[in-house]
Amino acid sequence: MISIDQQQKLLLSVARRLTKKITVYAVGGTAMMFLGFKDATLDIDLVFESEKDREIFQKAITSLGYLEMDALKVYGIKRNAPKMFKLDDERFDLFVVEVIDFIFSENMQKRAEQIHQFENTLILKIANPHDIILMKCATDRIKDKDDAQKIINSTKINWDIIIDEAKKQISLGKDRAAFDLGCFLEDLKTKMKLDIPKEVLKKLFLMVGKQAKERRKK
């Protein structure tokens, strides 16, 4: 586990080793720590705007001693799995634009209003809590549901943002978005007894129904 202080120090040392100014989006546990939902995380999940930026970041962390590890162990066989780097207990999961079956869309980038700048080189934008839930749905590891629960319990969720984003994801070619999100939220509602409005699930599964009809037509 990595605490807030350790994370700050780590990001500062990475920033000092970066050769170019880059902008990165923090999703998952890291974003939750910056937003005050958590005080420690297992991994630092980051989304880059381009492969080139990821390479620059990768160089910086490997110079700190981080070693690449197999993403299969954590994510299984999933598309757009991240590049993973580990040193002792700390782990970086580095995505480029796509996080498994979701795209870190332009709207998500705009919603990331909180900015943390490390030295002159590392601009870290913190994903909006709504988008963190979506990303948690994308990665869907065991701890992700607990994290989503924490967010839903501690902040007011505007479900329209989540539904609109699911629509956006479908328009961007991520056909599974509504289905995955619906299942994820249904799990949270039934297994974890979270207060997720029925209409939200209804709207999501209606979208899935529509998609299925359109497919049949084709």
Binding site: I4, Q8, L11, L12, A15, R16, F34, L35, G36, F37, K38, D39, E113, Q114, I115, H116, Q117, F118, E119, N120, I126, K150, S154
Partner: protein, 206 residues
Amino acid sequence: MDKIELLQKLTGIQTIESVMDLLRVDRRMAIYYLHRLRKEGYVKTKRQSNNRRVYTISVDNKLGGKSYYEIINRYSPIKVSTPSVYRIYGKEPSLEEAIIHAIKTKSLRTILASLALFKRINNWTELYRLAKENQIARQVGALYDLAHRIMKIRRMSKTFRNNALPQKKDKFKYIIERLKSKDFMIIEKTWRVYLPFNEMDLEEYQ
């Protein structure tokens, strides 16, 4: 009570009484909870004129770093609240950067407050470099001239002025979309930049 839950309930400005109310606990427990959060670095304490303690509880206190708004508020008589989080770690943000950031926010009050920073600018080369990088050199020049009208400030370097002044072909630019000045048209013409302020807006500086 879980630390994160405690933090979420108490985030904001609190007194011991408000903590007691929010957590529905007695004074002794309220002090204990505040102590726990302070130990983790989430609490900043100030005293009012009547010696009462006011606690600012926030994740930002724990995260540390500096924000441009802190710099503006330190040097400007006009104070601004923090509309968005932009914190900087590992270096001390400069006044030059704060001016550029203020202009980029396109917020009337932030830009107004940042005018006071011109009093303390001495690295004009850095200011020009940043302004040029962000394509707002003319805006900086126009705001400098405006600040010069209302307060005593250091002279702008000739290099800055010569390099930043517009050419005849340059079109007028807005600092804040669709806001023009009725009282500072000469400055606007000189820099080919519309200023978002009138004389009345600057009263707080006089």
